[in-house]
């Protein structure tokens, strides 16, 4: 029997669904399908992973890449082109950021940087979990995260100051050693 229940699944999607969808969007045009397939795989597991969110990010990436390869094989790209026009973020006037601009900034990032930033900011993964996800040392992940955030800040027009992330990184790095 699956060790996960319907209510737990819904809580997971409520909490991580948006971030997972954004993460999948990096590779495929139907991220909802990638997430859905990952959820089905999660239900099929006989034992729950230690971190369900980290497991889902890996699974969603795999599904998204698979979908991307299938999309490339298709001759008719009309539907894919239409999908690509879908917004990555909700439109919310109360937020002081333009979703389309941030989308443009994210799409302009190298894949590794984009994975790290999206999984950290919108996926709530720890640096240790991200390091495992992208198969890089934690220190490298943090360095990339920090430098990418600094570059993004320049484009976002945020006041120039060093991001204060030393505390949480130190804690995580200590935890890993």
């Amino acid at each position: 029997l699956s060790p996960i229940t319907e209510s737990q699944l819904r809580v997971i999607v409520e909490r991580y669904g948006r971030g997972l969808t954004l993460f999948a969007r990096q590779w495929c045009t139907n991220p909802d399908d990638a997430l859905q397939e990952a959820l089905i795989d999660l239900v099929d597991l006989t034992e729950m992973p230690q971190s369900i969110s980290a497991w889902l990010f890996k699974a969603v990436r795999y599904k998204a890449l698979t979908q991307s390869r299938a999309e490339r094989r298709r001759t008719n790209h009309h539907s894919s082109a239409a999908e690509q026009k879908r917004a990555w973020f909700d439109v919310d006037p109360s937020v002081g950021l333009d979703g389309e601009m941030v989308t443009g900034l994210l799409t302009g990032l190298p894949e590794l940087e984009r994975q790290i930033v999206t999984s950290r900011i919108w996926g709530e993964l720890s640096f240790v979990e991200i390091a495992e996800l992208v198969d890089r040392p934690v220190t490298t992940v943090f360095r990339i995260y920090r430098s990418t955030l600094t570059r993004l800040r320049e484009h976002l027009g945020v006041a120039d100051s060093e991001p204060d992330t030393s505390t949480d990184t130190n804690i995580e790095l200590r935890g890993q050693s």
């Binding site: 319907e6 969808t21 950021l97 979703g99 941030v102 919108w122 204060d164 804690i171």
Partner: protein
């Protein structure tokens, strides 16, 4: 690992919400196994109930969470005014004392567990959709709850109840009927004091939420 606050830049970016995914829940939930006996209960809830004194009852968290009385129980829990097991006991006693013919039940209880009155070969609708559409009449379950005992099982809340020992206690007293069983449990609670530390109960509630 404890989640640390994000820095200001990340917080600003995070305020931008990615679009909500559209999940076909029917496809996802189709992979979840049906609780044992549920199909039979759907096919003939009254018939299966009258024949299954060993049945297990599942209190569905989504159904009871929105109820005002349950909210008050949780508030009491949070404030530390009541021990978790006493709340559990109060909840179960509340369920057991609901009037049989109530036309406007304040809660719903779904049945699962072994059902013996239905032919296993009998075709039943296995879809989750049909479950939500054909939810059994709670009054049938109330009647059965009044007749004997309650065992909570098979979900986050119910497993927590079970950990508090409630299910085992009540089911072990199934021969005595609900009144005697609950009175016995009440006296046990009184004599033993709070069986679970408040901090642990709060942590469990936090984890669930």
């Amino acid at each position: 690992m404890i989640e640390q606050p994000l820095d200001d830049d990340a917080e600003l970016l995070r305020s931008l919400k990615p679009t909500r995914p559209e999940i076909d829940w029917q496809k996802v939930l189709a992979k979840l196994p049906e609780p044992a006996g549920q199909k039979n209960a759907l096919a003939d809830p009254l018939g299966s109930l009258t024949a299954t004194r060993d049945a297990t009852y599942v209190i569905q968290p989504d159904l009871i969470r929105g109820q005002p009385w349950f909210g008050r129980l949780i508030s009491s829990w949070w404030s530390g005014a009541l021990a978790g097991s006493l709340i559990t006991f109060a909840l179960l006693r509340f369920l057991a004392t609901q009037p049989v013919d109530s036309e406007q039940p304040e809660f719903e209880v779904a049945q699962t567990g072994p059902a013996t009155s239905i032919d296993p070969q009998q075709p039943t609708d296995n879809s989750r959709d049909s479950h939500s559409k054909e939810k059994p009449n709670p009054t049938h379950f109330q009647r059965d709850l009044n007749e004997w005992d309650v065992l909570v099982d098979s979900d986050a809340w119910s497993s927590r109840f079970k950990r508090h020992g409630l299910g085992e206690r009540l089911v072990s007293k199934s021969a005595t009927g609900p009144t005697e069983a609950t009175q016995t449990y009440e006296s046990e609670i009184t004599s033993q004091g709070h069986p679970k530390p408040q901090a642990e109960l709060r942590r469990e509630l936090l984890e669930f939420n």
